[in-house]
Subunit: 227 residues, 2 copies
């Protein structure tokens, strides 16, 4: 969460929590309004109306509508990046960690459908300097997938004819696309989607030896669970 300078200082005063809650509520409402009306079509007046606030009171939190868009976009992206980086840092070989990253990314997307849609549709509404600031993170995102695929290839777990950058873009595409069709309470829960997408991705790039070792690990786990 980004806040205007001097307003996010940690202290023990009684005022802090309500202000933080109000800020979180503002960001939630802005996200929803940008999603419904598009950034160009949304006004600060729309956002203030939905919060039951005077438009002028919004300037206590932000300087402009653009500040809100930047916050929505950079927050969902930074949080998602933290999720996939945490998954990438778990124990296991590079292919097992990639599987975890895919699961984590699908679940994060399913739980953040609206901010993800605003990010993907409105990034270009930010001025170049600020969109570059976010785009740095986008490349960082892609990098988490690509680095694991390159590492797995060096370790003989991914076929030598696979282009790691294309493979990363293929996996990112299938997992990002979830934001367009997933609906909470639908046929497939996020975990089931993540599991099949991860399975397809790993089979799509792995060497026969790596797939055989993976099948062996899974059989051992199943046997252990049944004993």
């Amino acid at each position: 969460m980004r806040q205007p300078a001097g307003r996010s200082v940690r202290r023990s005063g009684g005022e802090r929590k309500p202000r933080e809650e109000r800020w979180a509520e503002l960001i939630d409402v802005a996200t929803q309004v940008f999603y419904e009306k598009g950034y160009d079509g949304a006004s600060l007046q729309d956002i203030a109306d939905r919060l039951g606030m005077l438009k002028g009171s919004l300037y206590y939190y932000i300087q402009s509508k653009e500040d809100l868009l930047f916050d929505v976009i950079s927050t969902v992206h930074r949080d998602g990046l933290a999720v996939v980086r945490a998954c990438a840092d778990r124990p296991g070989d590079a292919l097992e960690r990639l599987e975890g990253v895919i699961l984590g990314h699908v679940e994060h997307t399913c739980r953040n459908l609206v901010p993800t849609a605003v990010f993907l549709h409105e990034l270009s509404s930010l001025p170049e300097e600020r969109s570059r600031e976010v785009l740095g993170s986008e490349h960082a995102y892609q990098g988490v997938f690509r680095d694991l695929i390159e590492q797995a290839q060096r370790d003989g777990l991914v076929r030598p004819d696979v282009e790691p950058r294309l493979a990363a873009l293929s996996v990112l595409g299938s997992t990002n696309w979830v934001y367009r069709w997933f609906r909470p309470g639908g046929t497939f829960p996020p975990e089931a989607i993540g599991a099949q997408f991860a399975d397809m991705a790993i089979r799509g790039i792995a060497t026969e030896e790596a797939l055989a070792a993976r099948a062996g690990r899974r059989a051992a786990l199943t046997a252990a669970a049944g004993s």
Copy 2:
């Protein structure tokens, strides 16, 4: 290409070609302006200015800005659908045909980046009735992929634990996503992207027997090409 009633009648008069050319130019310019400014931010004045026409002259071709958006969106979608359906109808088993569909879809997307982006970002700007008209085609699109995967599963070519709908959405996601990162003249030509994406998708869902048969066919083709 959609034209107002009575203006697309085939006849041998000398006026027809210039009018069709002008219409195609109008659609190209509208696509570009919607892409650059977003549908809400784009005006008929912007489009007329770029064509060097008076805004009033646009009404010879259309009744509203919405007509232009509908045309851009439905045209790229209908053309893409024709491409994937043609690929799906070629000879071969369902998995071979799915491979062709993926190649065809990636190439179509790479060659139609701007209208694809307008379709994906602005579909929701159409009124419900018209977006439903296009959405019918979107489901038809997904159906081409899903039907082939279901057929391949019935024929024992796709693993029984694969959910055909999820597999279709995974493949559509990775191939649609190309519109966000592909740039003509970049490192990978459309054919190379399509080939790797198709290969990953087929390996991701196929049975071991189907993959062995596919490897055999490829080896035979390579041997035939070398002899």
